[in-house]
């Protein structure tokens, strides 16, 4: 081996080393670049020169960790950002329902302390309009978030599909013989970069096969990229709840799989979790509050008498039905559903999933209903059929855990609502989504138009006979039936009524008889002080000392314009526990606290996963990143070696020249 060959071999080697240093320096700021390290060793045989090896510095283990941490971060970040938006909507003082409720009851107080004042009544009406509009407004803002969620998911899908294609394409490029050795390094870096980007969109699992292909799986092992081919992801409206995004993956076999519940990481997962576990429940909770508010206020307003002497009309529209949604995947060809409430105080803020079962031994269809927020299951087999209710039952379907199957219609009652589902055929597995409260906050409207329609007065007034000797008085007279068909509203109530105390009977009990204009309407009732007597849709109590021979009168409150008894009961609703055991405002602050805590929690998670990612990023960076000082030293080192190699050639030339001149 001549000096010349050795020299040129060394020149080449150091030139390559210098080129790598150059490449490292050039890519000091390139995202995902793996630095190249030149290692030199002696050629196999003696004096045969130097052998150059170029290595791409990276760590498969660390790269995988990075992808995992990236997915976690992106999920937490999406969640924190989104809940932050909701926090801003719900927490802003202009959206504070609690202050609207305060304003509403302030006006109600003014009406009660001065029931004939038109200006107080006018204010009360405007506050009920404001209240309803505020509910509508919040619901609007929350439901807008649903649309934002869809468009963001579409963007994410677009990104996932592009990246999956890119990865499949790079798999092909890397596998081709042209890419062997150093010329393939760029493609490897690029592929890792794409995978990292993909991991920020969706949680993935990457498997490297013997040929070096990346197979990318999403969810629980659903293939997104296999070898050179990539699948396509898409989003659709949910088959039961159109607001719930359905995530589909179409792999090479043209078969679409629903992976909505399997996605577990990345931005997509954060958005889905936010929509399903925060946004939808928050909307339901506001809907429940609006429903309870409207119903309880309507009931109280219908219990009173307005300035024109008419029984009060609803203050808000009837909020007496949720919605039943039929799954688009059902086998039955046609179905319909409806819902009504029998006790709004029992309504929860949950949605319910109903699933048809098989026929029981008697040939009746079975079904089960899952309360989504806590997973509680109500089975038809553990409910009571209306036909087997005890004799004398007056409630029928208006009570918990009762159901009825008549022909093509199933009706059942749980948690304050009665759902009715009609279907052409009972087919096992068919699904229905029951939403008692979702979106209800957007529906509430104030329906009274004139101040004189506010029912501040009680429909009845009472007095004690002027020659009574006992000190008892009729107290707490209260309307207990506000239906249109009730005696007081339909005008069939017997009035006036005179209550006569008489007796005693053989056991020494005092008796009362209620006399109407045409004779007794209730006779010889044993009466003990404090007993509640219910008649014609109202109830009353006689409090104090009753004496035989005393009488009490109940008459229509004709011209009772100065009376405020019903308004006083309206005011009391502010603190009554009407919404699932809480007052209106307590129910609202509970929702706020829950949104706030979720926001805080998501921010904490985000901070943690950010720290985790930054650790795994810097570990990897420390392996594959470029240090300019290091490269500067290498530059000097290879420059010197290059000069020395050049000297070899020049020495060879000198030797050759000496030889030539000696021959001359």
């Amino acid at each position: 081996m001549s000096l010349l060959t050795l020299g040129s071999n060394a020149l080449n080697a150091n030139q390559r080393a210098l080129a790598n240093v150059g490449s490292n320096i050039a890519n000091v700021n390139s995202e995902g670049y793996s630095r190249k390290v030149t290692s030199m060793s002696e050629q196999g045989t003696a004096l045969s020169g130097v052998k150059v090896d170029v290595k791409r510095m990276t760590s498969n283990f660390m790269v995988t960790q990075l992808w995992k941490d990236q997915s976690a971060l992106s999920m937490d970040q999406a969640m924190a950002d989104k809940i932050g938006d909701l926090d801003m909507i719900m927490g802003s003082s202009s959206n504070n329902i609690s202050t609207r409720i305060d304003d509403f009851f302030k006006a109600a107080n003014m009406v009660s302390s001065d029931p004939m004042s038109v200006s107080s009544r006018q204010l009360f009406l405007s506050q009920s309009v404001n209240m309803a509009e505020k509910f509508n407004n919040i619901d609007d803002q929350i439901s807008n978030q649903n649309e934002v969620v869809f468009s963001e998911i579409k963007n994410v899908m677009h990104g996932i599909n592009e990246l999956a294609n890119g990865i499949a394409h790079l798999n092909a490029q890397i596998a081709s013989p042209k890419s062997e050795g150093q010329s393939g390094f760029e493609a490897l870096d690029e592929r890792d970069r794409l995978v990292q980007e993909l991991s920020s969109l969706i949680g993935i699992n990457v498997v490297t096969n013997a040929k070096g292909d990346y197979s990318v799986f999403v969810g629980q092992g659903q293939p997104l990229v296999i070898g050179f081919s990539a699948g396509t992801m898409s989003v659709q409206h949910g088959s039961e709840d159109p607001n719930k995004p359905k995530i589909l993956l179409e792999s090479g076999n043209n078969f679409r799989v629903d992976i909505t519940d399997k996605v577990n990481g990345g931005q997509l997962s954060g958005i889905l979790e936010y929509r399903n576990n925060i946004l939808a429940p928050a909307r339901n909770q506001m809907g429940r509050l609006a429903t309870v508010f409207a119903n309880t206020m309507n009931d109280q307003q219908r219990s009173g008498l307005d300035l024109n002497g008419q029984m009060g009309m609803d203050l808000f529209n009837k909020m007496n039905s949720g919605s039943v949604k039929i799954s688009t995947e059902n086998s039955a060809t046609s179905s319909s559903g409806a819902m009504s409430f029998y006790d709004v105080s029992k309504l929860t803020a949950s949605d319910y999933s109903m699933r048809m079962g098989s026929f029981d031994g008697m040939g009746n269809p079975t079904f089960e209903v899952t309360r989504n927020y806590d997973g509680k299951v109500f089975k038809s087999s553990t409910m009571t059929s209306v036909s087997s209710l005890p004799p004398g039952d007056t409630k029928g379907l208006s009570q918990d855990n009762v159901f009825d199957v008549t022909g093509d219609t199933i009706k059942f009652s749980i948690d304050g609502f009665t759902a009715s589902v009609k279907t052409s055929t009972y087919i096992k597995g068919d699904r229905f989504l029951l939403q008692p409260t979702s979106g209800a906050a957007g529906l509430i409207k104030s329906t009274l138009s004139r101040p004189d329609q506010i029912a501040a007065a009680s429909p009845l007034r009472t007095s004690e006979g002027s020659s009574n000797t006992g000190s008892a008085k009729i107290s707490s007279i209260k309307v207990n039936n506000t239906a249109d068909s009730s005696p007081l509203r339909s005008g069939t109530a017997t009035l006036p009524v005179q209550i006569v105390v008489h007796g005693p009977n053989a056991f020494g009990d005092d008796l009362i008889t209620l006399n109407g204009p045409l004779g007794p309407i209730m006779s010889n009732v044993i009466y003990v002080e404090g007993d509640v007597v219910s008649v014609d849709g109202y109830e009353f109590t006689i409090d104090g000392d009753i004496v035989i021979g005393d009488v009490y009168d109940i008459v229509k409150n004709v011209d009772g314009k100065s009376d405020n008894k019903n308004a006083l009961m309206m005011i009391d609703l502010q603190i009554e526990k009407t919404a699932d055991g809480k007052s209106y405002q307590d129910a609202y602050t509970t929702t706020l606290a829950w949104v706030g805590t979720s926001a805080q929690e998501s921010q904490l998670n985000h901070r943690t996963s950010k720290a985790t990612l930054s650790t795994s990023k810097s570990s990897l960076e420390s392996v594959r990143g470029v240090n300019l000082d290091e490269e500067a030293a290498l530059l000097v080192k290879f420059q010197h070696a290059y000069s020395a190699a050049a000297q070899l050639i020049s020495a060879q030339q000198a030797i050759f020249n000496s030889l030539l001149s000696a021959m001359r």
Binding site: I83, S98, K106, N109, S112, V118, A457, D559, Q585
Partner: protein, 311 residues
């Protein structure tokens, strides 16, 4: 661990960003004067703020109701004290009527004055507040409490009295039905009001001839009975006015205790939501220093490179 050039920049950058973020947060606190900017900052405190605001608002509403109640009680007091003056005058007249030296013409003068007083009295029985509500008609304030029927003033309202909620636990009575305070009965006198009783007396003055001893004796008996009725009415007025006074004293007490509650709640609210400026100012200085330090260290780091030494 091997440190790369990028890491040095990234780290410096991250620190600068974090310090800037901290600084911005303190700045928002200082400009808004509030500790919390969103529920997530402290959900528990956020909830407390809303609950406290609600409680404070309730006391504000109660105080409004107290003011309305006071206005109503004052109107009633005004009417009742006019009625007291009127009744006092009726008492003077009834005493004067006992003077046997008075001639029929003097009696007629009294009769004329009493007729005037009855007229004034009915307008007080039918007293209306500024928006036209009849104060003494019970629940039926939309129409007169008393109407003249066959020459007698008949109560047309009912015995309902209005109550107003003025504290979480206390409802104050703000109206008295004429049935309770004007329609007076006593063991010897059937239920009637001073207007009709005065009308009867006027009739007697005019019908009885004082020069006839039998008539004069009847007149004296009736006059004495009438004096008793007037005195009953005076008692009722005094009693009602002192009741009104007691209610107003009660209202003042409730208002004061409401004000105390409200003050305590406002203080609690301020503790939860208002910014501690001393702490925020020192936080500001601290974060500022930290940011300046990260600027300074970045300036140093970016100047360091081996390339500067191998020229």
């Amino acid at each position: 661990m091997r440190i790369t050039t990028n890491q040095m920049y990234t780290t410096a950058n991250a620190h600068m960003l974090q310090n800037q973020k901290n600084l911005a947060a303190v700045q928002v606190q200082l400009t808004s004067g509030k500790k919390l900017q969103s529920l997530a900052d402290d959900p528990v405190a956020g909830n407390k703020i809303i609950t406290l605001q609600r409680e404070i608002e309730r006391y504000t509403v109660m105080n409004m109701s107290i003011d309305t109640a006071n206005t109503q009680l004052n109107s009633e007091e005004e009417a009742l004290s006019s009625l007291t003056n009127l009744t006092d005058r009726l008492q003077e007249i009834s005493i004067s009527l006992g003077n046997v030296t008075f001639s029929d013409s003097v009696h007629e003068d009294f009769a004329i004055e009493m007729t005037e007083l009855v007229d004034m009295g009915q307008s007080l029985f039918n007293y209306q507040d500024t928006k036209g509500e009849y104060l003494f008609a019970g629940a039926q304030g939309g129409k007169p409490a008393y109407e003249l029927e066959a020459g007698r003033w008949v109560f047309k309202g009912d015995g309902e009295n209005r109550h107003v909620k003025v504290s979480t636990t206390f409802n104050v009575q703000v109206s008295d039905s004429g049935q309770d305070i004007f329609e007076i009965e006593s063991p010897l006198i059937p239920r009637d009001n001073i207007l009709n009783q005065t009308l009867d007396m006027i009739n007697d003055i005019r019908a009885l001839d004082m020069s006839i001893p039998a008539d004069a004796a009847t007149f004296e008996v009736r006059r004495e009975a009438y004096m008793g009725k007037v005195s009953n009415m005076q008692d009722s007025m005094r009693h009602s006015i002192s009741n009104l006074g007691a209610r107003m004293v009660n209202l003042d007490a409730v208002k004061e205790s409401n004000a105390n509650f409200k003050m305590n709640l406002s203080k609690a609210l301020s503790d939860v939501q208002d910014l501690d400026y001393a702490k925020a100012s020192s936080d500001l200085a601290k974060t500022q220093t930290a940011l300046e330090a990260s600027y300074a260290s970045f300036a140093k780091i970016q100047g360091m490179s081996l390339f500067n030494y191998i020229k």
